[in-house]
Structures are given as structure tokens and as C-alpha cells.
């Protein structure tokens, strides 16, 4: 109980798993053995407990991890730990998590990114094979970026990478996922499309060839879009845009970007697409067109 009270107090403003909220024992075990809990209680929990006072029944694991890497992440982020955002469908803690949800933790999915890969694959509209794991995108030790996103998720280390800049009204404190991981809490400012294209790096070529929808393009003044239509969209179903100049939406700087149409993790729809009315893709397109 004491630990539960202390946990929310030790978070660094920003993202979880960073600074004081990066607790080594959340994920690592030194000897692959724990004969009792920190309180002396026995047996120790085999399911995640905030702060790391738990140990899986399997192991010891490589890198002193309590479980295999992705499975370790999912151990907390599958809905079983109320203090952590659930990223595996179906999600219950909010109706529409900003990042969406993975359909599966182990099998390939047509509804979004796959987890559990063991070998690199070439992503859709990508040029090089990438090994996709939770850690491909998120730095497990935190890095100060939004959601601890790695600048180079492809792992190519080519170029300077991309930093995703997002304004958050409410930051994670270890007990408030329903307030943090929702679109209404976020104002996307810059970097998202470039970050996605670190893996999907053939996308700009397709845009240049006119075969794919452009990204980072202002809605206002666009020949094929209607500012008036966009400005009149019901705010409760409005898709996300990037707003480099000001966080206000709608406003003249609003730009279509990857997350206008896709959920980062996955959605109930093919290719992680967002159906604004929850029924049809057309409803998403019609917000600008």
C-alpha cells in the first residue's frame, strides 16, 4: 500500500519509464530469483506489480529481463495492470486510445503493426528490412522524447533521426492512463511523419509519384481539400492533425499527417486505418474532402 501511494509521486514530468519513474526492477531481476516480496510476503507475485516487486515464473532471461522483451512490455500493457495503458485489443480503459491497439501479441496482423517478430521484414512502403519490436519504436530506458520514441525506429542510424514533438495537457503519473493516452490530451506539433518514414522510407517517393496521399500538407489552401469542410467537422469525431504554429484545432496551420488516417499501434480496420465514424473510411476522407 505504501508503495502504491509513493508510486504516483515519483514520476518525472513527461513520459513514464524515464527519470525517477524508470524503475530498474520493473523489468530486470539480478539473479532470476526472488524468494519473497519487498514486504517479506511470500510467494512473490508472478504478475506485474508497480515498482517491480514481482517475478515471472519463467527465466532467468537474457539481459536479466523478467520475461522475453516484448512479452515483458505486454505483461503490464495488456490491460492487466490498471496503472499502465493497455495497448492490446480489446482495450477497456478508454474508448479510443490515441495509439490504438495491437490485434495480437504474437501473430502477424493486417490491422496494424505486428508484435513478436523474430526476424527483420521490409515494412509496407519501406526500403529495408526492419525488426519490429516494442523497443524498435520505444526506448525502454526512456529518452525524454514523446512516449520515449527512438529517433531512428528502423535502427538504420541513417541521418539525424526524427523527434516527435507533442504537447500534452496531462502527463503520466503512474495512475492516470485514461487521462493521458487519449487524443483530446494531445496536440501534435511536428516530426511525426518524418519519424514514421524512418521505416516507411519509400513513402515520399510514392507521394512524389502521385500515387500516395501527401503528408505534412496544410489543409487550408489545398487544392483538393476544403478548409470550410474541415472547420465544420464535429469536434467529437475530428481526426488528428499536426499543428506546427499553434496547438489550436481547427486553425490555419493544421496539416494532414500519418496519424490523421492511421493509429500507430493498430485499429479495428485494415492497415490501422481510422474510421472517423467507426463505420467507413469515407467518413475520414470526408473530413477534409
Amino acid at each position: 500500500m505504501t508503495m502504491a501511494i509513493l508510486l504516483p509521486m515519483c514520476g518525472e514530468a513527461g513520459n513514464w519509464h524515464r527519470g525517477e519513474s524508470l524503475v530498474c526492477s520493473d523489468c530486470h531481476t539480478m539473479h532470476g530469483s526472488q524468494s519473497h516480496a519487498w514486504s517479506g510476503a511470500s510467494p512473490v507475485s508472478v504478475t506485474p506489480v508497480p515498482g517491480g516487486d514481482w517475478l515471472t515464473a519463467t527465466g532467468p532471461g537474457s539481459k536479466l529481463l523478467k520475461a522475453a522483451p516484448d512479452q515483458l512490455c505486454i505483461a503490464c500493457h495488456d490491460g492487466s495492470t490498471s496503472t499502465a495503458p493497455d495497448v492490446v485489443a480489446p482495450v477497456g480503459y478508454v474508448a479510443d486510445p490515441a495509439g490504438g491497439a495491437f490485434e495480437s501479441t504474437s501473430a502477424p496482423s493486417a490491422l496494424g503493426h505486428d508484435l513478436g517478430g523474430t526476424s527483420p521484414v521490409v515494412p509496407p512502403l519501406g526500403k529495408a528490412a526492419v525488426l519490429l519490436t516494442c523497443r524498435s519504436c520505444h526506448d525502454p530506458h526512456g529518452n525524454g522524447n514523446f512516449r520515449n520514441l527512438r529517433p531512428n525506429p528502423s535502427g538504420s542510424q541513417l541521418g539525424a533521426g526524427a523527434t516527435v514533438v507533442v504537447d500534452e495537457a496531462v502527463v503520466a503519473n503512474g495512475s492516470n492512463p485514461a487521462q493521458v493516452y487519449v487524443a483530446s490530451n494531445l496536440a501534435y506539433r511536428s516530426g511525426t511523419s518524418a519519424w514514421c518514414m524512418d521505416c516507411h522510407d519509400a513513402y515520399p517517393d510514392a507521394v512524389a509519384a502521385g500515387t500516395k496521399h501527401p503528408t505534412d500538407r496544410r489543409i487550408e489552401g489545398a487544392a483538393q481539400a476544403s478548409w470550410a469542410v474541415w472547420a465544420a467537422v464535429d469536434p467529437t469525431v475530428r481526426v488528428r492533425v499536426e499543428s506546427p504554429a499553434d496547438p489550436q484545432v481547427p486553425s490555419a496551420d493544421d496539416q494532414v499527417f500519418c496519424l490523421s488516417c492511421h493509429k500507430a499501434h493498430g485499429s479495428p480496420n485494415a492497415d490501422a486505418l481510422i474510421y472517423a465514424d467507426r463505420v467507413t473510411m469515407d467518413s475520414t476522407c470526408a473530413q477534409c474532402h
Binding site: M3, R18, S33
Partner: protein, 376 residues
């Protein structure tokens, strides 16, 4: 009474042995044994006390006992080493003045010990629990050398009749030449496992905390790196070999299968348990297998945990049991040393930096953060 005490002190000084007590000429049979569990008078006539007196001129209150002991084994040790002014207190809170950085081994507990020394905060006298990681064969010992059913006794770790050259009389004797050795001197002897940095010629049993505290002060004790293989386990210090007699599966380095899958998983990422030997903090690749750690981070720490090292700049530093744990225990779970690299003060539990949240999670961060920069 004063005359008696003075006489005893003089006798003690005359019989003192440079180094550990309970060894050589300071291993006094009558300290612990009684032939008939009967003593009608003291060595100088007069009444016999039931509390320890110098040279064994006392008698236990309960007995007779096995091995002709004046009290059952743990009770006998505690008679002097728990709550007495003339000997170091090693059970729960220190009855005497605390050394500057706490007792180097910390504090034992018992099943009934109260907060803050509950039984999950280090070694528990009398515990019948099988030691975690119990695999004595890994250091060449018989699997029956320690029987948990008999309960943990002081003498499971400390040889009751002393062992010349053995640090704190640590055993077991079956470790032979691999028991931890020591030197008492302002100058280190890197061939020994432990360096007690106090003036040479320290006489044990000096009789008060003011004189014996430096000997047991964590601030005075450091550990050299002496790589060797004991049984089939690599170790970088005899102290680790001693710990491995009970916790064998938790010991070793890159070539030990209970510690590393380096051969199958590709070296640096191959550790499945934290290494306790054979690696060098911050050294990348096969040169040291310390690539996940940072030597500059360790050397940059104002307040450091113990490592096994005798090289300038800690360039040979290997972590070991005592880097993270107090041998006896302390007020933290598992006897862990939660020491920030910028602690405002250092005690048996470690120490927090100014402004830090003082809880277990921060404690773990502080400990790991001594050598690891990830997330810091």
C-alpha cells in the same frame, strides 16, 4: 569489580593476536566450552556470572549443550555479539556507537526481529529455508555440507575455531585456500582479498567500540580483485567464493552457464543473471563484458558501492556480492545497499542524494545507477 575488569583487560592485551579474534592464541576454549556444564566458582574464586566474561570465566544459564557449549550455538555467539560493549554487535540495531559508514557486514536478523530488521532484510539466524541459488557443487563442495533443516548458524559462515589468515574467520574450511584473505595496513596488499585500511598491528578484542569500530567500519574495508576458478565457478574475490557455497547459482562471470549465455546469445547480451566476477565495469567486448555499464559513471560517483578492484582508477573493477548486499543484512529488503552516487551520507543502508524521493524504487535506481547510466 573494577579490579577484576582491569585484570582481565591486562590479560587480554597480553594474549591478543594481530588480526582476527577467535583464532590462534585468541581462540580460547573456555570462551565457549564447558567440560561439565558445572562451575562452582570463578577462575579467581567467587561467584560465576551467566554473562560473558573475559577468557571464558562465565557459565551459560541453559545446558548442558551439544559440543560442550555453554549455550546453544547461535545463542552463544550472540551472548557476546549482540548488545555488548566489548564486542562488535552484529544482530539488528547496533548497541554500540556506529562506525562512520556503518558496520561493513551490516546486521543479522532473527525470525522474531522487529521493524526495521525483519527477516526479509538479510540473513536470518535459525532460518530453515533452503538458500536461494543453493548449488555448493559449483564451488566444489558437497551438497550436504550445509543442511538447512538445522537452521542457519553463525558458524555456517564463520569458522568457530578460527582460521589463520581468513578474513573474519570466514569459511567453510573445505574452501581451503579459497577462503577470503585479508591485510590490515595503511598499504594495500593486492594479493589478499580484503584490505582493512587501518594502522598495522590492530589487536582484536580491544574492548570498546572506540577501538574496534575502525576495524569493522565499512569505510575501512575494500576488496581486491583476485580472479580464480573455485570448483567450476569463476570468482574475482574469495568473499564471493564463500557466498557461493550457499548461493552458487548466483555466482560467476561470462563463462559460467548459470550466469551467462554468452556463447549462444552473442556475448554482451548473454547475461541471464548479474555477473559477480570476471568482468570489468565499462570494458566493452570480450575484454571485459562490461559494455552495459560505465566506468566513468562509477568513478564519477562521489559515494561508491564496493567493487573488487586494486588498480588505479578502478580500471579492473568487477562487481561482486558486496557491491549490492550487506553480508549480514540491513534495513532494506535482501540486505541491499541503496547507495546514491551523490549520497549526503553513507550508512549501512546506503544513502540518498539531496532532494531524492526516499523509497525503495529510488533505492534500486540508486544502486543500479552506480554503474549503469541507462535512464540516468
Amino acid at each position: 569489580m573494577k579490579k577484576l575488569m582491569l585484570a582481565a583487560a591486562v590479560t587480554f592485551a597480553a594474549s591478543a593476536y594481530a588480526g582476527e579474534w577467535h583464532t590462534g592464541t585468541t581462540n580460547l576454549c573456555t570462551d565457549c566450552h564447558t567440560m561439565h556444564f558445572s562451575m562452582q566458582h570463578g577462575f579467581a574464586g567467587g561467584a560465576v556470572g551467566t554473562t560473558p566474561a573475559p577468557n571464558g570465566d562465565w557459565m551459560g544459564a541453559t545446558g548442558p549443550n551439544n559440543f560442550l557449549l555453554k549455550l546453544p550455538a547461535n545463542e552463544l555467539c550472540k551472548t557476546c555479539h549482540d548488545g555488548q560493549t566489548f564486542a562488535p554487535d552484529v544482530v539488528t540495531a547496533n548497541f554500540n556507537a556506529t562506525p562512520t559508514q556503518g558496520r561493513s557486514a551490516g546486521a543479522l536478523n532473527e525470525a522474531a526481529s522487529a521493524t526495521p530488521y525483519e527477516s526479509w532484510k538479510g540473513h536470518t539466524l535459525g532460518s530453515t529455508t533452503v538458500p536461494p541459488g543453493f548449488a555448493p557443487a559449483r564451488v566444489g563442495l558437497s551438497t550436504t555440507w550445509y543442511d538447512p533443516a538445522g537452521g542457519l548458524e553463525c558458524i555456517n559462515c564463520h569458522t568457530q575455531h578460527g582460521m589463520a589468515g581468513a578474513y573474519r574467520n570466514l569459511g567453510p574450511r573445505s574452501l581451503g585456500a579459497n577462503v577470503p584473505t585479508y591485510v590490515i595496513s595503511p598499504t594495500n596488499d593486492a594479493t589478499r582479498d580484503v584490505w582493512i585500511n587501518i594502522p598495522a598491528g590492530y589487536l582484536a578484542n580491544s574492548g570498546s567500540a572506540a577501538t574496534f569500530n575502525p576495524y569493522y567500519d565499512s569505510a575501512s574495508v575494500s576488496y581486491n580483485r583476485n580472479d580464480r576458478t573455485v570448483g567450476t565457478t569463476t570468482t574475482s574475490n574469495g568473499l564471493d567464493a564463500m557466498c557461493a557455497t550457499c548461493h552458487g547459482n548466483f555466482h560467476g562471470g561470462p563463462t559460467d552457464t548459470e550466469i551467462s549465455n554468452a556463447q549462444t546469445l552473442g556475448g554482451l547480451d548473454g547475461f541471464i543473471r548479474h555477473p559477480t566476477s570476471g568482468i570489468t565495469i565499462g570494458a566493452s567486448g570480450a575484454a571485459g563484458y562490461g559494455g552495459h555499464s560505465s566506468l566513468s559513471r562509477y568513478t564519477g560517483a562521489v559515494t561508491k558501492v564496493k567493487v573488487y578492484s586494486d588498480a588505479a582508477g578502478y580500471t579492473d573493477a568487477s562487481p561482486g556480492c558486496v557491491s549490492c548486499h550487506k553480508a549480514h543484512g540491513n534495513q532494506n529488503p535482501f540486505g541491499l545497499v541503496f547507495l546514491s552516487r551523490n549520497a549526503t551520507s553513507v550508512g549501512e543502508e546506503g544513502g540518498y542524494a539531496s532532494g531524492q524521493t526516499q523509497n525503495l524504487m529510488q533505492g534500486y535506481r540508486n544502486l543500479c545507477g552506480q554503474c549503469h547510466s541507462q535512464g540516468n
